[in-house]
């Protein structure tokens, strides 16, 4: 203790040893040491498996069944498989603000899914408007990543506007309400709508419903199929969590006459979890057919499942779609839980038609080719599909003799689609959106039981079918006075 020379020696030796060991290790690898491989290995394996699957031959898409544009997309990926076509000419700018780099919210996988799609469009499919071997225009994805900081969000909103984009694709963003006014007049595509402002904003459209399709869909499922008499809902105590609970959960459960109660959660806070789980158990203890479900609290699904099972929970656990990732599926507590599925189930791709297998494989391959650094998740696939949808609608616009970059062209085209193809999802309609959810096209979903190793059909008569939410969304009671 009388000298620190030894300490210095130890520090130098340990540091040198670590660096030397790391150097040796990285030399042995063919990939750079900095490459971050997906931690989400199960999902990665699942997508790799689907990529490796050998679907049936080409020409199997049916626009009536798979949605308008399915056959065209199949033709494009078939042609690309034989001879990839690179896009040429002036790029069509698509701006993309996205939340990244904040511990409280970071979704790099959404950006990476979009970038993978753009790479596929530009380097293999020939770009927007490619036809008969002639290349079309490339898409330039102008990403503006920002942290949970209003200043950065505002800067991104202005930057996106200044890029003069044909379309703005929003990843997940907690600041869209302050962004929309800046984007007046530009078509906006929401990837995961989480604010009321995202649900019925003029000029905004979403192929995926976010809270709007997930949460009322769960209410309808729990009422009509599961026959729940009591439901506990755990949701985040933050702005999107509260808005989604009030707008898309509480009032639909009330509308459907399901006894329910919301439990606020502070994401990640261990002090809250056990007490809340205990409350949920107590609330549902006298239910004949009770269930617990989540709002925006995906980060804590697994932890709540653990806490409730340890606390003696006897009722059904129903996981929202955003809880569906490898880390949750591998837990013992997830066994026999029911998972919401808004897309085709990639883990069970063999159950689908040859075309669906082919497009899921093509998407998985494109994402793998891109080489994402973040773990591949449902968000990666969703944003990929969103960009492909935009590409397809732009192709339709060009085929109709119009310029998708011209003012007032793309937004109406997106809003008019009917029975339209979306990669990896059942077809969507945007022409009949509910009055309070004018921006949301996605109105179907299903539920599957996780048996610990694979998804199977639930035992409640749903039989793997997709629930149609159109009527329920259209019958939403008026929102409470805002003030």
């Amino acid at each position: 203790l009388r000298t620190n020379l030894k300490l210095k020696a130890v520090v130098v030796a340990v540091s040198f040893g670590l660096v030397a060991a790391a150097c040796g290790s990285s030399k042995a690898k063919t990939t750079p040491a900095t490459t971050v491989k997906p931690a989400d290995t199960t999902v990665a394996k699942a997508t790799d498996t689907t990529a490796a699957a050998k679907p049936a031959g080409g020409g199997s898409a049916d626009d009536k069944v798979d949605g308008q544009g399915a056959a065209a997309f199949e033709a494009a990926i078939d042609a690309a498989a034989k001879a990839p076509l690179k896009a040429v000419g002036d790029p069509i700018v698509v701006a993309m603000p996205n939340l990244e780099g904040s511990p409280g919210g970071s979704f790099p996988e959404i950006r990476e899914g979009a970038e993978a799609a753009v790479k596929m469009i530009n380097e293999k499919l020939g770009g927007v408007g490619a036809k008969d071997g002639k290349p079309g225009r490339p898409i330039k994805l102008d990403v503006c990543s920002h942290k949970i900081d209003a200043g950065e969000a505002q800067a991104c909103a202005n930057k996106a506007k200044e890029a003069k984009p044909a379309l703005i694709v929003v990843g997940i963003d907690f600041f869209t309400p302050l962004m929309y006014p800046v984007w007046t007049g530009i078509p906006v595509m929401e990837t995961v709508p989480i604010f009321v402002a995202d649900f019925d904003n003029p000029g905004a459209i979403s192929a995926f419903g976010g809270c709007v399709s997930a949460f009322p869909g769960a209410a309808q499922y729990l009422k009509e199929n599961f026959k729940a008499d009591k439901v506990a809902i755990i949701y985040s105590d933050n702005a999107p969590g509260q808005q989604c609970y009030e707008d898309t959960q509480d009032r639909f459960y009330t509308l459907l006459g399901i006894e329910h109660k919301g439990f606020k959660d502070t994401p990640g806070d261990p002090a809250v979890k056990d007490a809340t789980a205990q409350q949920v158990i107590e609330y549902l203890k006298d239910a004949k057919n009770g269930a617990v479900y989540w709002g925006i609290a995906a980060a804590d699904c697994a932890e709540y499942a653990k806490a409730m099972v340890k606390g003696g929970f006897k009722q059904q656990i129903v996981m929202s779609g955003s809880c569906n990732d490898a880390s949750v599926l591998k837990l013992a507590e997830s066994k026999n839980a029911i998972f919401e599925q808004q897309s085709y189930i990639v883990e069970q791709v063999k159950d689908y038609s040859p075309f669906i297998q082919k497009e899921i494989a093509a998407r998985a391959q494109a994402i793998t080719d891109y080489g994402p650094k973040a773990p591949i998740s449902a968000f990666t696939r969703t944003s990929f599909s969103a960009l492909i949808w935009a590409y397809q609608v732009m192709n339709d616009v060009i085929a109709g003799g119009k310029d998708p970059t011209a003012a007032g062209v793309l937004a109406p085209a997106l809003a008019a689609v009917k029975n339209y193809h979306i990669v990896g999802h059942p077809p969507i309609n945007c022409n009949d959106n509910a009055p309070q959810y004018k921006s949301v096209c996605k109105k179907s979903l299903t539920f599957a039981l996780w048996d610990g190793s694979t998804f199977t059909k639930t035992k409640d008569g749903l039989d793997g079918k997709y629930i149609d939410l159109a009527k329920l969304l259209a019958s939403a009671p008026p929102r409470k006075a805002a003030a």
């Binding site: 203790l1 000298t3 520090v11 670590l18 060991a21 790391a22 290790s25 750079p32 900095t34 491989k37 931690a39 990244e100 780099g101 511990p103 409280g104 970071s106 979704f107 996988e109 900081d149 209003a150 200043g151 950065e152 505002q154 800067a155 202005n158 930057k159 506007k161 907690f174 302050l178 929309y180 800046v182 604010f195 009321v196 105590d237 702005a239 009030e246 606020k264 502070t266 994401p267 990640g268 261990p270 002090a271 809250v272 007490a275 205990q278 158990i281 995906a298 980060a299 697994a302 932890e303 653990k306 340890k310 606390g311 990732d325 880390s327 837990l331 013992a332 973040a374 805002a482 003030a483």
Partner: protein, 712 residues
């Protein structure tokens, strides 16, 4: 009742245990090196991630990142140690070694060089380490939440203690582990030679040196011990809660509270305090979900604020109006130079700001406005922290008070724009009246926050001001009965019109938020505040602030009313923060509570320190450095998204390096470097300046004697 008891017991097992171990670790570090380690939770989390990575892939991730753009030449960041899945016990040992390494690095690279720095310098260094580790965790392990099985016993005790409910076996094990850990640490400091030497060094460092001990070595060992206990807490946490980078900050407040309950001195009391906090929070969570719980008391607010309010009360009662005789003098504080050319900085800002307004449009204008508004907020920190020496983390929250007050006072129950989904009720006052009232409200709140400062000082005050941050956030910003419908969403702020001039930030034709009229309003406010703060430093009031900062007893002996001076400083800084908050609200046209969170406030304090927290021009420079400010915007334009992911980690390194190399901030260092040039340009020869150091000393009021001479 049995369910409530069960909730209290459950709180012991998860959160309480983690807080207890971390709190004991914070006490250990403080006793060893005099540092409050805001990054203690981050060390725990890095250890937990290390275990997860070793277990899952057999890889050891080193706590740094590879920023080299080349593919052939890389900074090694990963060692493949073993085949996956790794043996759990081996992974535990290696993870704890990583924790020890992190602690050692914190000491050697950051806090040993900062050992003679001011309290604010150490706080900033600590915040830098927190930001760095959080960023590296995200870079090395990703931002997705990881859920691990852990290595503790599964299953649960049915009908636990006859209370009719179940409790997981792992929860019980964790609680017992925390108690054993606390007891072992207490024994280490009570019965071993190492503990005695640590106590002696903490009590009298010079005496310890004279006895032949190395305070630095002792501090290093304490850092290792504390970090290993933090790592232990992280490992216990693995199987119980998901791993996410945000968890690093989540533990900071309760663990600090536990440490303060132990008076930053007793490991045993800190352990008990941590367990009590976890239990209380769990119990309150249970009660708050009962149907009888009053709606005006938000669950989150009561849960997070109750322990802190209790602590603030204890510290207040325990504290003294003046530091007792014999209290060790604080470390040397940063100089507060007199502005010999008081109107130079405001004039430069006015000229270049006006130039910017006439040149910039679009994103550049947005960045300029962000810089100006941030600089206004930084000025409030210059007054409070720089001049008065009161470390408050609540300045951003005070800006939030002004923003929400303005929102409520100017709203009239009508939709601000067709896009709004929220309508806020209010009296619809004219903007000028609302601005004045909002500033008054902010000053009143600022004075309430000042009350603990009358008896609590230094780092303890900094922690207690966290109470104010959480109270304002949970009871005000998130409370619908006070702020209206905007508590659950973005609240639209009515467009400002003052004397018939439209100062709205959004351009009605292009919709960009780049109107020069608003930027001019912000620039005018900044220039006025700069003049005011610069002259405050030169005035008798400013000299009284410095006297209180330097030595409260000496200041009181010189006839200064210390309490009044403190209240005045808090009031002035609150008013300045209020101006910043009003500009903030108008700039974004809508506000939400996330804008005023604790970590953002901490980051603002760090930026203010980086610029120079003792000079008004330092505040302006700090405004350039904030996220979305001019400098940040310029960087993103230069380097694009491939580099921006490293900004947080690199910025944290910059913060630490600046705290070590330029403890007074960038501005004094730069002005010293350019002093010869300035002297030539402005005709002040070296003779006139008195020959460097001596003249500087007479122009600064770091010495009590100068203060007494001036004020008497």
């Amino acid at each position: 009742m049995s369910q409530f008891v069960l909730a209290l017991l459950a709180g012991l097992g998860v959160a309480g245990a983690i807080y207890a171990i971390l709190g004991a670790g914070i006490v250990t570090v403080f006793r060893g090196s005099g540092v409050i380690n805001f990054a203690h939770g981050a060390i725990a989390l890095y250890t937990a991630y290390t275990w997860s990575e070793l277990k899952g892939k057999g890889d050891l991730r080193l706590p740094w990142f590879d920023i080299l753009p080349t593919k052939k030449l890389n900074i090694p960041v990963k060692i493949h140690l073993m085949h996956a899945p790794a043996n759990a016990a081996v992974a535990v040992v290696i993870s704890l070694l990583m924790a020890a390494f992190l602690g050692l690095m914190c000491h050697v690279l950051v806090f040993r060089p900062l050992r003679n720095s001011s309290t604010v310098g150490k706080v900033v260094g600590s915040v830098g380490v927190l930001i760095y580790l959080q960023a590296v965790i995200e870079l090395n392990f990703g931002s997705s939440v990881r859920s691990e099985k852990g290595f503790l016993a599964q299953g649960s005790f049915k009908n636990f203690l006859g209370l009719g409910g179940s409790i997981g076996k792992d929860r019980v094990m964790v609680a017992i582990a925390a108690m054993i850990c606390g007891a072992l640490l207490a024994a280490l400091f009570r019965f071993t030679r190492f503990g005695l030497i640590t106590k002696a060094t903490a009590g009298n460092e010079k005496g310890s040196v004279l006895l032949g001990f190395s305070p630095s070595f002792i501090a290093g060992l304490n850092w290792i011990v504390a970090s290993v206990t933090a790592g232990f807490a992280g490992l216990l946490f693995v199987g119980i809660n998901g791993l996410a980078p945000s968890n690093a900050a989540l533990f900071v407040v309760p663990a600090l509270t536990a440490a303060l309950i132990g008076n930053l001195d007793s490991v045993g009391i800190a352990t008990v305090g941590g367990l009590a906090i976890g239990s209380t929070v769990s119990g309150v969570t249970y009660l708050a979900k009962q149907s009888w719980w009053p709606s005006w008391a938000p669950e989150g607010g009561v849960r997070s604020v109750l322990p802190l309010l209790f602590l603030a009360g204890v510290l207040f009662l325990r504290g003294d109006k003046l530091p007792i005789r014999g209290t060790l003098a604080a470390a040397r504080q940063a100089r507060v130079p007199v502005q010999t050319r008081p109107f130079l900085a405001p004039a430069v800002v006015l000229v270049f700001g006006t130039l910017g307004l006439s040149i910039f449009t679009g994103s550049w204008m947005v960045a300029l406005t962000t810089t100006i508004v941030a600089a206004c907020l930084m000025l409030s920190m210059v007054v409070l922290v720089g001049f008065l020496g009161q470390i408050s983390l609540a300045q951003l929250s005070l800006a939030g008070v002004a923003a929400y007050s303005l929102l409520r006072l100017t709203s009239n129950g009508k939709r601000v724009s067709q896009l709004d989904t929220v309508v806020v009720k209010g009296p619809g006052l004219p903007h000028l009246v609302a601005i004045v009232l909002a500033i008054v409200i902010t000053v009143v709140i600022g004075l309430i926050i000042a009350l603990p400062a009358l008896r609590i000082r230094g780092i303890q005050l900094a922690v207690v001001t966290i109470t104010a941050v959480l109270t304002l956030q949970e009871f005000l910003f998130k409370n619908p009965s006070i702020v209206g419908a905007g508590a659950k969403a973005n609240s639209p702020v009515p467009r400002p019109t003052i004397f018939g001039i439209d100062f709205g930030v959004a351009n009605k034709k292009t919709f960009l938020t780049d109107r020069w009229q608003f930027s001019a309003l912000a620039l005018g406010s900044l220039v006025l505040l700069l003049v005011m703060v610069t002259n405050l430093r030169r005035s008798p009031t400013g000299r009284r602030f410095l006297a209180v900062r330097t030595n409260e007893r000496a200041a009181a002996a010189a006839g200064i009313d210390v309490a009044r001076t403190k209240l005045l400083g808090f009031g002035i800084s609150a008013a300045i923060a209020g101006v910043a908050g009003i500009l903030f609200a108008y700039k974004f046209s809508s506000i939400q509570f996330e804008n005023f969170e604790l970590l953002i406030g901490l980051a603002f304090l760090a930026f203010a320190f980086l610029g120079s927290i003792t000079t008004p021009s330092g505040a302006v420079l700090a405004g350039f450095l904030v996220p979305a400010g001019i400098w940040s915007f310029r960087l993103s334009e230069w380097f694009g998204k491939n580099v921006t992911k490293y900004v947080a980690a690199a910025g944290a390194i910059g913060l630490i390096v600046t705290a070590i190399a330029n403890p007074e901030g960038i501005v004094p260092a730069v002005s010293q470097a350019f002093k010869p040039l300035g002297d030539k340009l402005f005709g002040r020869g070296r003779k006139a300046s008195g020959g460097g150091g001596a003249a500087l000393a007479t122009r600064t009021l770091g010495e009590v004697s100068s203060v007494v001479a001036t004020t008497s």
